[in-house]
Each structure stands twice: as C-alpha cells, then as structure tokens.
Homo-oligomer: 376 residues x 2
DNA sequence: AGTTTCTACGTAACCGTTTACGTGATTTTT
DNA sequence: AAAAATCACGTAAACGGTTACGTAGAAACT
C-alpha cells in the first residue's frame, strides 16, 4: 500500500517575505529580482558598500572618497544603470521633466509650425541636461475654466514652459503657487513678474513698417489679432511708432485670431473699402499666416501683390519662403527663443534666483518679393 | 530676577521622527506636512479608514463597500486630491505617461506640421484617459548609434508611439524588449510584427495618379524620398499600379529627403530634362512639401503650373490649401491616425493582446487647382 | 447549530532613491 | 597627548502610493 505523501500546507509563516537577508556579505550574485534592471542596490553589493554611498557618489554629493566615487561610477556604467526617476522624485528631489504647454487653438493653422519648432528646440536643449519634456495642450476655456495643469498637480515636472499668446494667466499662477519655476515664451504676464522669452516685437514691427515707408508707401494698414494678445499689442505699437514718426494716419484691423482665414477676412475689408476712402497700398500683418490670407484675398479681388498691394508679415514660417510671391517678413529666431527658455528654466530649477528675467531677442527683416521693393 | 527659561535641547531622542502615532484616532487635523498637497493618508484619516481602503476605492478595485467607496471619492474631490504618480509608478504600476517619438530631421521643413498635428491628436486622446505625453526626438545616427530611449530605460512611460518614416527599428526593438507596448504611426516594421497605424498609401497614390490619367496625362513622373521609407515605397507602388494598368512608362526620381528643397531639386531635373526626352506633363509627389518644391522649381524655370505641368501631392498639409495654385493632394486623416494610435496603445497597455494589429485608414483625393483638371 | 465561504476592511511589506543621523577612524587643534 | 573637529561611510527612516496577506463578522451552506 502506497504511503500517502504528507502534504504540508503551511500558511501564515512567522516572518513574511524573508524579512531581512540573514547575512549581507554572501549575497554576491543576487540577480533578477523582478526585472533585470540594475538598481542602485546592485551597484552597492557589487562593490561591498552601502546604497547611501552609491547614491552620494552618483549625485556628486560630498562625503565619498574620490577613489570610491570613481569605482562607483565605473560600476554604474558597466551595469548600464539608469536611475528610476519615479523613486528619485518621490523624496521631493527633481523629477527630471518639464512641461511645455501650448494653447490648443480651435482652428490651428500655419503658425502651428512656429510652436513645433520651439518645442523641438526646447527638447533638444533640455535633453542635453538629462531632462525630458512633457507636452500639454490646454483646451478652450469653455469646458473647465478652472484649468489646472494635471502635470503640475501630479508633481510630474520640475518646471513649466508656457508658450503662446493666450496663455491663461491663472495657469501660470497655479504653477507658481505650486512652487514651480515658470518661463513664458512669446508672451509675458502683465501684473505677475515672471521669467519670459520674447522677441523684440515692437522693434521688428517698426523696422518692417519703416521698410515700407522707405519705399514710398504712405497708406499702410495694420492687421492683427485680439488686442488682448501681447504680440499683437506690441507689434501694433511698433507700427504706430513708425507711422507717427512719418506723420501718417494709421489704419488698424483686429481679428479674433491670427490665421489664414482671418487674414483673408481682413484682406477683403481692406481691398473692398468704400470708394470714398483710399485703399491702402501696403499691409503689415501681425504674422505670416494672416499675411498669406491677406495676399490671397487680394488676389481673389483682382488686386496684384505686390503691384497693387505690398504685404509684409511676421514670424518667417517655412511657408513664407515658398509662397507666391515669397513673403517679406520679420524673422523670429524660434530655435534661439526655445533654447533660451530652456536655459532660463534650468537656471530657475537649479538656483534660487528670485528676480525674474525677461529675455528679448532681436528680429531680422527678411526682404523677399511681397513688399515690392525689389521690383521698384 | 527673571527666571531663566529652561532651554531644553534634546538631541537624538529615543524614537526618531515620531516613529508611530501613539493613537491614531486623535490625529484628526494633521495638516501641512511638507507641502499642503493632500495625500491618500489625509483622505483615510478624515474618513477613519485605512489607506489601503482608500487606494482600492479610488482605483476601482474590488473589496470596498459601495457606500464607503462613494464617500472616499467625495472626500478625494473635496480635498482636491491628485495622486502622486511617482509613488504610484514605483510599484511597477502604470506611470500614466507615454512617449511620442519623432525623428529629428536635419533640415526639418514643411511636413513638420504633419507630425505636430498627430502629436496633438495623440495628446488629446490620451489625456482623456489620464495619460500624459512625453516627447522625444531621436537624433542623427552619427553621434550615438546605440540610441536607446532614455524615456524607456528610466521607466518613465507605459508605452511608446513611434512616428515618422525613418524610425530606427532598433528603437522599437529596445522598447519591446523592455516589455513596453509600441505603436508605429505612418510606418510599419518589416520583420518584427508590431502594432501600427498607417494610411492607405498605395490606394491613395493610385487614386491620385488615376485622376491625372483620367484628365489625359500620359507622361506622369513620380517624385519621392528614400526607397527605404515605407511611405515612399508604397506610394510608388500605387503610382506604378496605375501606370501599368494604363500601359504607360514610368518616370521615377528619388531624393534623400522629402522636403521643399529636395522637391525643387527633383523639379529642376524634370523640367530640365534633355531635349531628346519629352518632359513630363504631370508630377505625382510623395508629399506636399516636395510637391510645393516641384511647383516652385517649375515656376522658376518658366514652366506654368498647372498649364505646363500638373502637380499632385500627398498629405494635405495646411499649406496645400493656401499655396498658389492651391495644391491638389491626397488627404491623410492625421487626427484620426493619431487618435487610433493612442487608442491602440491604451489597449495594449490595459490588456494582454498578443497579436499585433495594423490599422490602415483610407485617404481622400482633394482636387484643387494644381492638377489643372478644373481648368481643362 | 456548526462549519465553510464571502465580504470588507486593516496591517504592513514593498517599490528604488534620497538623506538625516550615527559612528568609528583619521586628522587637526590646543 | 588629550580633546575637538573632520571625514568616509553605514543605518534606517522617509517619500506616497499599491497590494499580499490576515482577520473579524456576516452570509451561505450542511
């Protein structure tokens, strides 16, 4: 008769989960815990030191002998160690990521590219310093006006870059209240002092208009977006500076957005102006998208560009160069602005600078065909 | 004489940092630990339950009475609680973020916008499900060919979306080896089966070429990018399908990139073709950027579009509509593709589907002016 | 009525790092 | 040479969640 095997089912053992390794010197080749990703502990065991020392060595903290520090770094490289950022950031240390926030327009047109270029410049600059970029688009105010950034409240990022003209200032405030560094790009807050990177809108606009003036234009119209947008206001100011100096009347049109479509709308208003009024001979548009729209509307109305109407834009998006006629415009150094924003944010993260800094980068007038000066 | 206050400086108390709260019922209003951010513990204390229960309640895990679960959720809302994702992901649970990887071209031109639109669609779809998007641009192979995604090795993301034609397949492999779900967009891997979202390149190209054929063109050239790019290969196949059916000869030009510049180069080759050969009467370009380049080169060579040369593109980027003449092109539903990619990735993350799925979305021929059929 | 199975919850280990604190072994100070 | 300061390192407590396991009480079976 076969013996029954004694099936011993032991539940609830005294010490749950091998509480502590009996000896910690014999555990040399402890491999493959959950995943085979090397942890800081693995480095420590290989070298026979404590995890604290390894952490200090890797983070350039004092209190580690130079020789040991070197060995730790070598071992880390050998094991192909990359720190688990979740664990690191849990202690309130840096998360190694920043947020890039851009407003989600209803009808995003050409100037999208503007922000994408910046985004990439930001990413490139930050990744050099080991940072990652999380993107967030903030929606229309309609649905949830309280619009707090989840990225911020979830503690995912060390800083925030806010791009675009209609950044809700409450957005910036909420980040600042969380104690996070904030840098605005292509915008700046009115009341709240904060870091920002802009281009010299006013000067660029003035240069563009002065170029038109120099070539004999006297009736120059301004086409812009909402007056709440800083870029529109500043560029209009530059336009007015130039016109005032020349002793000329201004003609101003504001649309609710700065797209090709609204540019066309503005263009139609300008060329279809009542006969009692003289139509403008030139238009300075607040950005290239609108300028292209104006050109298109003019063409559709049988008005030749630049023959009957000279057009100048702002931004120098890719399309400006290949449009017909190629668009004269004010070039913004988008990559530089993105890079500056990244650098300023890093500085804010790593130091305790209190006073905000506003970087303003110069612009360049790029003369192509649409202003007509080459033909004149 | 004033009594000296007994200044008791106690160092090294027996129990470091209040080891355990003596009683845990009296600690009702324990506020402001480090930051005032509410933790799961705060909710638990307010309700007099354990943190485990709160965690279960908030994560829809079983084992919580319906009534209590409701109260937990209410309290979480009242305290404005948002989970600390670092802590959550430390256990190997989800990180709540995915990576969007796009190759960083040397000279990024027009078709940038293509990926930006997708990126935004992805972000919108994923944020609805509480996910964040981290962007990563992978550089030229030159510097570090081993190109492993830090985002992946740092355990920051639950999945990866790889966009663009020249995604290094080793990139995908490395992510897959880490056990991460991967979805390719606008591309697909040859050997390695994996999820992907593409548009019907072949069919779209065939439709475009057939449109030209229908309007009488017989000498139709194909202009594309590197033959290693799937999109170029497939669109060329569609082009060849149509030409073969019509019994016509093919004319093919491949450039090393698909930009406006390379499009111009191709355009010059076509219009400057030796006189012994008949120049093409129409061009099908592999994307809009190249098509715009072809148009520009043609115009510079005194060749009218569409009069002397009909041009059709692919993608339907914003510029296509506002170019002169407006570009006839094959529209890709970029938003839809981004959304599909997001959905597929979520599915991969949340389920254990093994078999890869390839989504192919149909294209639409958008007839504008550059093909000349309206004028014919 | 006694035994088993659920159900709902509490307890505490655990994830991988950082860091306050403790401790011997040196070095510096008086 | 004894005392004090410094240095190099180890110990273990956080950080804020998730989750395996334990356990009362209620419900469902004999």
């Amino acid at each position: 008769m076969p013996e029954e095997p004694t099936v011993g089912l032991v539940l609830g053992s005294k010490e749950p989960r091998e509480r502590k390794a009996r000896s910690q010197s014999e555990v040399a080749k402890r491999r493959a815990k959950r995943t085979d990703k090397p942890r800081i502990k693995d480095i420590a065991e290989q070298l026979g030191v404590s995890v604290a020392t390894v952490s200090r060595a890797l983070n350039d903290k004092p209190g580690v002998a130079d020789d040991l520090r070197r060995r730790v770094i070598e071992m880390a490289a050998e094991l192909d160690f990359t720190p688990n950022m979740a664990a690191r950031s849990l202690n309130g240390a840096r998360t190694g990521a920043v947020a890039f926030v851009v407003h989600q327009h209803g009808i995003p047109v050409a100037n999208d590219q503007f922000y994408f270029v910046m985004l990439r410049a930001v990413e490139r600059a930050l990744s050099k310093h080991g940072y990652h970029v999380m993107i967030a688009t903030v929606g229309e105010r309609a649905d949830g006006r309280n619009e707090e950034l989840r990225l911020v409240s979830e503690r995912r990022v060390d800083g925030v870059i806010l791009a675009g003209p209609d950044i809700n200032s409450s957005l910036a405030l909420s980040a600042i209240q969380h104690g996070l560094p904030v840098v605005l790009v292509d915008n700046a807050l009115e009341r709240t002092p904060s870091d920002s990177v802009v281009c010299d809108n006013r000067d660029g606009a003035r240069a563009a208009v002065e170029h038109l003036l120099f070539h004999g234009h006297e009736r120059i119209a301004f086409v812009g977006g909402p007056t709440t947008w800083l870029s529109t206001r500043e560029r209009r100011a530059g336009y007015e500076d130039a016109m005032r100096e020349a002793g000329l009347e201004t003609m101003v049109i504001h649309e609710e957005a700065t797209t090709v479509t609204t540019g066309m709308a503005a263009g139609r208003k300008l060329v279809g102006v009542p006969h009692t009024l003289l139509p403008p001979s030139a238009v300075f548009a607040v950005n290239d998208a609108m300028a292209l729209g104006v050109m298109r509307a003019a063409r559709e109305a049988g008005c030749r560009v630049p023959g009957d109407l000279a057009v100048v834009g702002f931004d120098d998006i890719d399309m400006a160069e290949i449009s017909d006629p190629p668009l004269t415009t004010v070039r913004i150094a988008k990559e530089l602005m993105g890079e500056l924003a990244a650098r300023q944010l890093l500085e804010l993260i790593h130091t305790e600078r209190q006073l905000p800094v506003k970087s303003v980068v110069a612009t360049t007038l790029v003369v192509r065909m649409s202003c007509g000066c080459a033909a004149k």
